[in-house]
């Protein structure tokens, strides 16, 4: 501040190698935002990353360099968690997206009672994730929930057992809950994008001779592409880092079959009390997600030229 004030006084005779007031001024206006960003974003991030170079024990911590990262290379559990995360993310995203898109297309057409259906469809979004996790866990429980008996009656399961207790099928429990929980997000955003398509464009295409399917594939989809790209990117990152449902329903079990990377981070930090290792895994996840985001943005740029 004093520096800037002296600059005002000496403004009449500019000198070399000294910042002029004009250069500093914009930063002064930006400073509250910068301070806030540094305080709430950068500082915790840097501290978190610095933890990953340390080893914590009960009363002390020591610098171990890249030790934690070397440990990750030989960690079988982490490898399994990465595979689980990929599976959890891709399956959840796939069903959330296509069911959400279908719902948005349905809700874009007028029918009797649409307002009511719309309100009901968006309800899961408003339910706290812990509550929906608990509810779904109960639904899958053969003692109190109907789902195992229905699956048994349909012949999809040999016995009405809990899918969550079988390592081969346990991941499907949280995925189903997550799909239920995440459909409204895609339905809302895609519906908003659909509503922004001018009806005259569809009419022009109808006159030009496009069939309903051609109108969807050649007009609606390209029009939605920017929204799809951005929502898929956001949603991927949210799902990949979303541990609530899994933790509530299975705690990562049985036998680590539902342990995704965020669950593993939580367990490492608060059960194994290995904060350094947990931070190192968190950094790995961060790097992976940033790489994914960059790739997706690049794809979006090359595909979507019209916005």
């Amino acid at each position: 501040m004093t520096y800037a004030m002296s600059e005002i006084r000496s403004a009449g005779r500019p000198r070399k190698k000294r910042l002029s007031y004009a250069t500093v001024e914009p930063w002064l206006y930006l400073s509250p935002a910068i301070v806030l960003l540094v305080a709430v974003l950068l500082v915790p991030l840097v501290i978190g990353i610095s933890y990953s170079f340390r080893k914590f024990s009960a009363f002390k911590s020591e610098y171990v360099g890249l030790g934690q990262y070397q440990a990750m290379l030989s960690d079988q559990v982490l490898g399994q968690a990465l595979v689980n995360t990929l599976w959890w993310t891709v399956a959840s995203l796939f069903f959330q997206f296509f069911l959400g898109l279908g719902l948005a297309l349905l809700l874009d057409k007028p029918f009797y009672g649409r307002k009511l259906v719309q309100a009901v469809v968006f309800l899961p979004w408003a339910v706290p994730s812990f509550l929906s996790g608990l509810t779904w866990a109960w639904l899958f429980n053969p003692i109190i929930g109907p789902l195992p008996h229905w699956l048994f009656a349909l012949g999809l399961k040999a016995e009405p057992t809990n899918v969550l207790s079988d390592p081969a099928t346990a991941m499907w429990g949280p995925i189903v809950a997550n799909v239920w929980y995440g459909i409204p997000f895609f339905a809302i955003t895609l519906l908003a994008a659909l509503k922004s398509i001018p009806s005259e464009m569809h009419e022009a295409a109808a006159i030009d001779g496009a069939t309903p399917w051609q109108r969807f594939s050649k007009l609606t989809l390209p029009f939605l592409a920017p929204t799809i790209a951005i929502t898929v990117m956001l949603r991927t990152i949210w799902i990949a880092t979303f541990a609530d449902l899994i933790f509530v329903m299975t705690e990562g079990g049985p036998a680590g079959s539902t342990s995704t990377v965020p669950v593993y981070i939580y367990v490492s930090a608060f059960k194994s009390l290995d904060k350094g290792y947990a931070s190192a895994i968190a950094v790995l996840l961060l790097v992976l997600l940033i790489a994914y985001a960059i790739a997706l943005i690049a794809i979006r740029r090359s595909l979507v030229r019209h916005v």
């Binding site: 464009m201 022009a204 295409a205 006159i207 001779g209 029009f223 019209h306």
Partner: protein, 355 residues
Amino acid sequence: MASVTLQHVEKDYGSLRILHGVDLEIADGEFVVLVGPSGCGKSTLLRMIAGLEEVSGGEIHIGERLVNDVAPKDRDIAMVFQSYALYPHMDVSKNMGFSLMLKKAEKTMIDGRVGSAAKRLGLDSLLGRLPRQLSGGQRQRVAMGRAIVRDPKVFLFDEPLSNLDAKLRVHMRAEIKALHQQLKTTSVYVTHDQIEAMTMADRIVVMHDGYVQQVGAPLDLYDRPANIFVAGFIGSPGMNFLPATVEKGGKVDAVLADGQRLRLPDGLPLKDDDKLTVGLRPEHIRLADDGALKAEVEVVEPLGLSTQFYIKLDNQQVCVFAMGRAGVKPGQTVRLSADPAALHIFDPVSGSRIG
């Protein structure tokens, strides 16, 4: 090319009737303009010809074919929308060739048609651009190019110039008209702008509240409007209307509320004390020292080529149009005359023309 025939066409939205039985014959190669204030049903009528709105009653023929239940793409029409409705993710050539591509036409044939349409419209150098990289006028031209490429039987235009600025609108107006003179394709053009209607149309259809008010050549509508609505809608500055009462004493006079008299033409079916609405076009009122009318000038609008001024006549503002410099000042009292033959006489109750 084809004629378009509308027989008692009706349109209802629920219990609300938008069009009350429209009858219209559009000849092959004719340029017909549907004009009227917003909400008069002109766009709905056009969209019914296009097949974008269902027909509630009556019949629409394109050529010999009844098209009431024919899909838009099978009607052999092309439409230019107010918003242009270009496909934002396709470049100009793809936009123009989209309909041919959907018909699975040969690539060389598409390129040929797109190329010649682009040349005609001066779009050759823009074929690779996306719609967002074009100006409003260029987009408008692409929309027209898309219509031309299809080589349809009928062109439909839905207020295609409304989104352009005034200068460009005048320019495109002339361009569309020139294009029609080259292609000679039957065209139906919707606008709310009576100047566009006057300048472009072979025939104008004036619509109001879902009824056709009058159909005719531009100057016929101007010279002999069928009712007060058409008289007020066609022409700018608009016609002045004065309420009057008939008084016969040798000659037939219309007496205004303030006692001033206007001589009426002979031979009209009028009798004493009949109520009238007298229509006076601004250019038919002349400054004249021996004029029968006396009024005070309120506002003068010099336009260089001409002068418009407003006078207070019978407690109403009346517009007068004079070529050149009128030499009047606000506050001045002037004498004016009106040629009896140029008066339009309407029945004030029904609004229709008496003479």
